[in-house]
């Protein structure tokens, strides 16, 4: 609900999303997307990944520009810190996905957002990845996301925005549910 008569604008083209949802309901083939990245080892634990093209709506697509991501381990891991760690990319992915979802849901529910910020913390026992204790998992034991949202809405409506964002989030699903991963050598 807005305090003035200006329409709610969080920058999300919700009509396009709803239109896509309707169009794709009867066209499952067009809804099949494939996202991609390629990765080149640089040196040590440093690698550089590139994202450029993806497949969707029945044909090859491209981002406007090519994006590069350096990943590495930090100096306390006896490494060079040429980029953030892969596990930090995962936290970025989750925060980005949930935040985009908050904006989309807010637009759909006619709620004007003024600011949205999230902090995200992942707890990890590194004995897992070091192979020091087989009872310890490699990944996060816990991920906590905290949102601060300033919007024209009640606290319950804001909670509902954030809850709905999780319900429809790809990365939230990827992290909380199992996914088959196959790794081959060609």
């Amino acid at each position: 609900m807005t305090t003035t008569d200006t329409p709610v604008d969080n920058g999300v083209n919700v009509e396009a999303l709803l239109g896509a949802r309707t169009a794709l309901t009867g066209a499952p083939e067009a809804a099949q997307f494939q996202w991609r990245a390629s990765c080149e080892w640089q040196n040590g634990t440093h690698s550089r990944s590139t994202v450029e093209g993806f497949f969707g709506l029945g044909e090859e697509q491209r981002h406007r520009t090519r994006h590069s991501f350096d990943a590495d381990h930090p100096e306390i891991f006896a490494s060079q810190d040429n980029g953030v760690t892969p596990v930090e990319y995962v936290l970025v992915a989750l925060a980005s996905c949930l935040t985009a979802g908050v904006a989309a849901v807010a637009q759909n529910r006619d709620i004007q957002l003024r600011s949205v910020s999230a902090t995200i913390e992942g707890a990890m026992d590194v004995r897992g990845i070091l192979g020091a204790d087989s009872d310890v998992r490699n990944g996060y034991s816990d991920i906590k996301v905290t949102y601060k949202v300033d919007a024209d809405a009640s606290p319950d409506d804001i909670k509902a925005l954030v809850a709905q964002s999780q319900k429809r989030s790809a990365v939230y699903d990827i992290i909380t549910n199992p996914t088959n991963v196959s790794v081959e050598v060609s």
């Binding site: 809850a163 319900k167 549910n177």
Partner: protein, 419 residues
């Protein structure tokens, strides 16, 4: 053999239509594979009672006349209530008659049964929405040695071994069965996905009293935002009991039931649970809050709230700081798995192309996408209460008008054609 209307199924929906067809002198039969109200008699567990209070169990011209209107009939009592209705209305039921197929034919339909075939102009699909249990594909990976049951197999705790039970699903069926098994002293784990939380009573009245009074149960299918989603909403976590207990997840937790997230997979005998439990519980808490807001707003607007206890909200669902994410089904911790994962209708006999790619009937508020065919008794068919007994009553009243108009139009078209 010929008739005007064939009604498939002699449960509350089929009999409601039948009574209204009789009142309009529309020639019809009700085909029932077993006996009247068979599903109520034979397809559920012993302690099942209605979710709705007895006063709300209404069929056309027939209401609950017992001495406990605020109570909840047992499944057997409901079966008798429906059977009495069939007798009182002299419903033309052919029991022990299984429909083998329904096909289009000439000026209507051909219904083949194991007792002969019927030609008719119109068909009413009243076979029910809950004919088969839905069991997830992951069930195939449950290690042998574990007993698995669906709600169709489960009758009472004495059927099971003494070991731990994992109930998959936390809607009405799941919470009732979990509570009953926990009371029997067994260790119970409940796997929780999307669910609808609801208290039995609020501000001194039954939740169904509020939902009816505030108009929630009469919300129409063509007035909701997303009817496809609304039709898939699971049953509220309610049960009928003399104590009017609430069966939400907090009640289960207090009784010692362990909650885990949605069953996401079984790998090498290990059940994996989603890390989304907290979100699912929060979504249910928020949804309940919205329902109570609707109720409180209506209470103010209607003046009903005067003299009632003040509005309040229920404790948020308590979720462990770190719910377990897996369970080794080979460890002996769990002896039985119960799939409280929903039900689906069986339309295998329906040979008219009215099913969508998910196997559901294509219809507009019960008017099926084939001339002269109607559907009744499925969730949110025309109203939020469509799958409740009182919903069958209301929907039958609408659909018999549709059917009558259809026959009248046919007759007048035929009449004009002869000129």
């Amino acid at each position: 053999m010929r008739t005007t209307t064939v009604v498939v199924g002699a449960g509350q929906s089929g009999l409601a239509m039948s009574q209204l067809l009789s009142a309009r002198s529309i020639d019809h039969i009700v085909l029932e594979r077993d006996e009247v109200a068979h599903a109520w008699r034979s397809e559920r567990w012993d302690s099942l009672r209605t979710l709705t209070p007895n006063w709300q169990c209404r069929l056309p011209g027939h209401g609950y006349a017992g001495d406990d209107p605020d109570g909840f009939m047992t499944a057997l009592e409901v079966a008798n209530f429906i059977t009495d209705y069939a007798k009182a209305t002299a419903a033309p039921v052919l029991s022990g008659t299984t429909v083998l197929s329904v096909r289009r034919a000439d000026d209507g339909y051909l219904v083949a049964t194991d007792q002969g075939a019927w030609h008719c102009r119109t068909v009413v699909l009243a076979s029910g929405a809950f004919n088969r249990p839905k069991v997830p594909a992951v069930a195939g990976a449950v290690p042998s040695g574990i007993t698995t049951l669906t709600p169709f197999d489960y009758r009472n705790p004495d059927q099971l071994g003494e070991g731990g039970v994992m109930v998959v699903g936390a809607s009405a069926t799941g919470v009732q069965i979990a509570a009953e098994l926990r009371r029997s002293g067994r260790e119970v784990v409940v796997s929780v996905g999307e669910h609808v939380r609801g208290p039995r009573a609020y501000r001194g009245r039954d939740i169904h009293w509020w939902m009816e009074a505030a108009g929630v149960l009469d919300e129409r299918y063509d007035e909701v935002d997303d009817i496809v989603r609304a039709r898939r909403v699971p049953s509220m976590q309610l049960a009928g009991s003399d104590e009017r207990s609430t069966f939400d997840l907090n009640a289960l937790t207090r009784s010692g039931v362990q909650l885990v997230g949605r069953l996401a997979g079984i790998n090498d005998g290990r059940a994996q649970f989603s890390g989304s439990l907290r979100n699912k519980c929060e979504l249910a808490d928020l949804k309940l809050g919205r329902l109570l807001d609707t109720i409180d707003d209506w209470a103010v607007a209607s003046g009903t709230g005067d003299g009632l206890p003040a509005p309040h909200r229920f404790e948020p669902t308590a979720v462990d700081a770190a719910p377990r994410l897996d369970l080794d089904l080979r460890s002996g911790e769990i002896e039985t798995v119960i799939w409280a994962t929903g039900f689906r209708p069986d339309y295998s006999w329906l040979e008219v192309p009215v099913l969508d790619d998910k196997g559901a009937v294509r219809h507009d508020g019960g008017v099926v996408d084939s001339p002269g065919m109607y559907l009744i008794g499925t969730p949110f068919l025309r109203r939020r209460k469509s799958s409740f007994i009182d919903g069958s009553r209301a929907d039958a009243e609408d659909l018999v008008c549709e059917l009558t108009s259809f026959l009248d139009n046919r007759a007048s078209r035929r009449a004009t054609q002869h000129h």
